[in-house]
Subunit: 351 residues, 2 copies
């Protein structure tokens, strides 16, 4: 069976394993260490059996579990399981479980090891790699967290078979972002192989996940704590967060908001005269159509311009006295950071 391994060269380097039926391998690798499996009530019955009789901490599925209240219950369960400093947390699930469990591992006894076993496409290509952990505060998403790298990531693409269509498609939004950030030829290959990818064929998915992970690993290794370059990974995200905030978090799946955000970023780049690849808008629209991704605000539930503008100032990553600063593409693989957005531009893009 095809499989791939990508090394992430952070302060403590680690490997991301991508393949099919990897969970038993992950379980075997950690069997000798005291470990606890953190998962959610949706994923537990589907995939937790690979970890046998290991103690489980099961949280409710969904964004609401990224709270200090749930974090405290996870930490209390780690105490109850008598986990010590040499213990290990396995995060089995999507981005919520990975963000929450990574934070719990980074705090418990001031930091214990954890392993990521992402079971959504979004988590496999993006959130499980790079060590960002987080919970949400009343004032916004991901406002409290740490940088704490996992000791290994096992991305088992077989787990993607059980995702709802919308959740799988949402992950494809981050796949397209990864291609735009650092793998231009992936953009066209996604267009060509869209059928096999949407059919979730394992042999089509493994190289896609691998290439996205390579993009992320390279960026994270260059800038582990997001002092500069790592901001390129936020391509499309200032607009995406505005969309999610305007719609109410959880209404529009993150990757679909990102997909529309990518279109808006390309449009902003063209409008500001930054675009060096005049075909980029067309290439992006083509891959979005083939993958079933939205490219226009009109493809999403109706959002008022006022709500979108208000949402823009809620993005912690782009805020500067209320004026967002954008990551924009000159071409696929060639991004510019910190471009200020003026009111006329935003009015044109958001209505």
């Amino acid at each position: 069976m095809t499989r791939a391994t990508v090394e992430v060269r952070t302060g403590y380097p680690y490997e991301v394993h991508i393949g099919s039926d990897l969970l038993p391998e992950a379980a075997a690798r950690i069997a000798k260490r005291t470990h606890v499996v953190l998962t959610d009530a949706h994923v537990a019955p589907l995939w937790a059996k690979a970890f046998g009789a290991a103690p489980r901490i099961v949280v409710a599925p969904g964004e609401a579990s990224k709270s200090l209240r749930v974090l405290e219950s996870v930490l209390d369960e780690l105490v109850a399981s008598r986990m010590k400093r040499d213990g290990l947390v396995v995060c089995l699930g999507g981005g919520v479980v990975g963000d929450l469990g990574g934070l719990a591992a980074s705090l418990y006894m001031r930091g214990i090891d954890f392993v990521q076993c992402p079971t959504t496409l979004l988590a496999q290509v993006d959130s499980s790699v790079g060590g960002k952990t987080a919970i949400n505060l009343a004032g916004g998403k991901n406002l409290a967290g740490t940088f704490h790298q996992p000791i290994a990531v096992y991305a088992d693409v077989a787990t993607l078979a059980t995702l709802a269509d919308e959740e799988f498609t949402s992950g494809l939004g981050e796949v397209v972002k990864s291609a735009l950030v650092g793998d231009p030829s992936l953009l066209d290959e996604l267009t060509e192989n869209a059928g096999a990818i949407r059919a979730r064929r394992v042999e089509a998915l493994i190289p896609v996940v691998e290439r996205c992970v390579r993009v992320k690993a390279a960026v994270v290794a260059a800038d582990e704590r997001e002092a500069g370059t790592r901001k390129t990974l936020n391509l499309g995200h200032t607009f995406a967060h505005a969309i999610e905030h305007a719609a109410g978090y959880g209404t529009v799946p993150h990757g679909l908001a990102v997909s529309v955000g990518l279109s808006l970023a390309v449009r902003a780049s063209a409008r500001l005269g930054l675009l060096s690849d005049p075909e980029l808008p067309e290439r992006l629209a083509r891959v979005q159509t083939r993958l079933g991704l939205p490219s226009e605000l009109e493809h999403l539930p109706a959002l008022t311009p006022a709500a979108l503008h208000a949402g823009l100032t809620h993005d912690k990553k782009g805020q500067d006295a209320g004026r967002p600063r954008l990551v924009l593409p000159r071409a696929a693989g060639d991004l510019v950071l910190d471009i200020p957005a003026d009111d006329a531009l935003l009015a044109e893009l958001l209505g």
Copy 2:
């Protein structure tokens, strides 16, 4: 006026400034940065005015503020103050404020800068230096936290004038520990200068705080994340935590429990034939007497042997299948780690 500066050579090095009337200097140094002062309701009216009109977050005094609930309120207030990634938290207070504020700073937007302005002797000689942050969980003290170094520490010994006698004396327990860990001649100088120290004369306190900080800085620089050597700083603490747990946290001030813990550690060392300085028990008893510190369990509120034994297994630092591992002194400045304590020894020490 005498003053001293000690450099702490951690991953991000920083300076500890020790002197009198340093708070205005601290305020001037950070004036150009957006900052918030975290303090408690006892310290705020005494010392916060040095920071002028800077926004304040005021928590209740005492250990109960080291909770996830209070942490969340602090984080929410940082959001409300519109603090960004380049903002700074000033921790003005004792160990509770420093531990809580350091943790809030390490989590807010995945880590912002903070400055420690310790106002208790215990915080000045120990907890404000070295980057350990923490809150308590239901299952035990300091079970959740991070390693996050401050960008500077300002230890203003003038603030010690307003401490209650018991709290000042408690801090002297950690001073004696510091001398035993890494500054043998300090042990005898404390005995000689006990009068001036207990009178809290600024010129007597500055060199004492400076030398304790030098001990801590050397240990922390050698082992920032407590993989080994840093455990020497836990001298006396396995017994101290057992005492505090048995008495109910907050009943026996930490440094007084540490003082008795030091006596027990020296006794354990003698009993196991590890002592190379036969005069150490006498030297320790002398300095404890001169400084007004307890040296025997009988000097503390009555604790049953059963409660003390139960408390021992609650110390996360020394736990190994229920059998504590001790840090023991061969002589002042010469410690051994990880000495297993057998039941006979513990029965002899704790009754």
